[in-house]
């Protein structure tokens, strides 16, 4: 069964540091997404990516965030200068008919 894979599963970083979260979407999907989930809360949309550019983004996705598809398989989320409130689970998803989610990266900012 096809799946979305994310690395690392857990990332601990110091406040102010840059982090890059990586994702390998399902190969024949065209839409890619990043969501985040703060502990105990709902899954929040960050950004969608289609045809090598951002198609939609939420107000959470400010200038500290960027996404990139550096090659034909990887899809990355970069947080330029992490804040304590960036601590959350970050989910990558890709979609054909519906969105398939990865297992997530738990980001802990200390």
């Amino acid at each position: 069964e096809p799946e979305v894979t994310q690395t690392p599963s857990h990332q601990v970083t110091q406040m102010g540091q840059e982090v890059i979260l990586r994702c390998v979407p399902i190969s024949n999907h065209l839409y890619f997404y990043w969501y985040r989930q703060i502990l105990g809360q709902k899954v929040e949309f960050l950004v969608s990516f289609y045809n090598n550019e951002i198609s939609e983004k939420s107000e959470i996705f400010d200038d500290q965030f960027s996404v990139e598809r550096p090659d034909g398989s990887n899809f990355t989320l970069k947080i330029r200068s992490t804040k304590l409130e960036d601590s959350a689970m970050y989910f990558c998803a890709s979609s054909g008919e519906w969105a398939f989610f990865g297992q997530g990266t738990r980001l802990t900012v200390v």
């Binding site: 979305v4 839409y31 997404y33 969501y35 809360q41 709902k42 899954v43 929040e44 949309f45 969608s48 289609y50 198609s55 939609e56 989910f91 998803a93 979609s95 008919e97 519906w98 969105a99 398939f100 989610f101 990865g102 297992q103 997530g104």
Partner: protein
Amino acid sequence: GESVGLHLPTLSVQEGDNSIINCAYSNSASDYFIWYKQESGKGPQFIIDIRSNMDKRQGQRVTVLLNKTVKHLSLQIAATQPGDSAVYFCAVRDGGSYIPTFGRGTSLIVHP
């Protein structure tokens, strides 16, 4: 923007009972609805979907009902099992976007 809410944050049932999880949405332009299951420490997992031109769709032990008049959908799980314990999210998509918007989540607890 889309607002998706759930009526109950936690639902406790006995093993073997049927479970019903409800979800309300606000955008009448929503045309595609998805239920996801999220187990602890994992990403959301697709369960079942339904389009706005349908009222009911059945899967294996799960049924989704859509009432567009009152903007409400429900997930019914038959013969609930301990493995069904998880948080269930409804997600809604409108015709102009591929992006699912998630509701708050209902925690289903199944007691053996």
